[in-house]
């Protein structure tokens, strides 16, 4: 739905958020159409599995709808949706076993912004991905968002509901555990 169409329907952002809060399904659909792509992209960054990301996007918007009466229209919708999406993705990560998560998608076939470095042997990349999949989900989420996806610490902190300091600590712990695991596998980074 375009901005013009929204305004014609009386859905200027402020009133649309209010209508969503009141349980209006049309307002919810308009917000879904506007935020579906960023929510999906955020979840995909965390779970790195396109089919799971689609399911979890549906789950996220279902939870958003269920919580509509707790939404405060004076605050923006995007960050609120992202926090819910982060919780949904973390729940999924916690439910997975490392070997389930290590799919071809994880290491290479996702719609990526750049090609992999051919200088790094495929075996090392695969061992690194496997070691990464064995990290605790909370550390993995912080590391993937901050290091791989290069999101700002502030953004990651807001999405995970923790402080910037805690994000830095989680990234540090993730890197340290990753290094130990790689060393066990005979790789000295």
């Amino acid at each position: 739905m375009t901005d013009c169409a929204r305004i014609e329907l009386g859905m200027v952002p402020g009133t649309m958020l209010q209508r969503f809060r009141d349980g209006d399904l049309d307002a919810f659909e308009a917000l879904f159409r506007e935020h579906q792509r960023p929510v999906y992209g955020w979840i995909l960054r965390m779970v790195r599995n396109t089919a799971a990301a689609e399911d979890l996007t549906v789950e996220t918007f279902w939870r958003i709808h269920r919580a509509h009466d707790r939404f405060q229209p004076e605050y923006p919708f995007g960050p609120w949706a992202r926090r819910i999406a982060t919780r949904v993705a973390l729940d999924w990560l916690r439910a997975q076993r490392p070997e389930d998560e290590l799919t071809a998608e994880m290491a290479g076939t996702l719609p990526s912004a750049s090609e992999g470095n051919p200088g790094i042997a495929a075996e090392i990349r695969s061992k690194t991905a496997l070691a990464f999949s064995r990290l605790p989900p909370s550390l993995r989420a912080a590391a993937i968002l901050a290091v791989v996806e290069e999101q700002s610490h502030k953004e990651v902190a807001a999405a995970l509901g923790i402080t910037v300091g805690a994000v830095k600590l989680r990234v540090f712990r993730a890197l340290r555990l990753l290094r130990k695991d790689l060393e066990k596998q005979g790789i000295t980074p």
Binding site: E29, F32, R33, Q36, R37, Y40, G41, L44, R45, R48, T50, A53, E54, T57, V58, E59, F61, W62, H65, R66, M106, A107, G108, L110, P111, S112, A113, S114, E115, G116, N117, I120, I124, R125, S126, T128, A129, F132, A143, I144, V147, V148, E149, E150, F172, L175, R176, L178, R179, L182, P189
Partner: protein, 82 residues
């Protein structure tokens, strides 16, 4: 782990797990799936309206009832511990 090690691990991680495309989007329109989920949610309370209790709770309740009817003198003891 010093800063140099940290940077090396970061580089290795970035080269092993590629970042997702900025404008990645779902292959399908997810709105119908969201609507289905909302419909299921709306139907769920009707299913849970009927009173349901696990079978072992019924068995326990039945056992206590039989015991109390067989030995009525235990009723004050039960009442004391409730």
């Amino acid at each position: 782990m010093n800063a140099q090690d940290e940077n090396r691990i970061k580089q290795l991680l970035k080269q092993s797990l590629l970042p997702v495309e900025r404008n990645a989007e779902p292959e399908h329109d997810l709105w119908p799936a969201v609507l289905r989920r909302l419909d299921e949610d709306a139907a769920a309370p009707h299913r849970t309206n009927s009173f349901s209790m696990p079978w072992f709770d019924w068995a326990l309740l039945g056992g206590v009832a039989v015991f109390v009817l067989s030995f009525p003198v235990t009723i004050p003891v039960f009442l004391y511990y409730l």
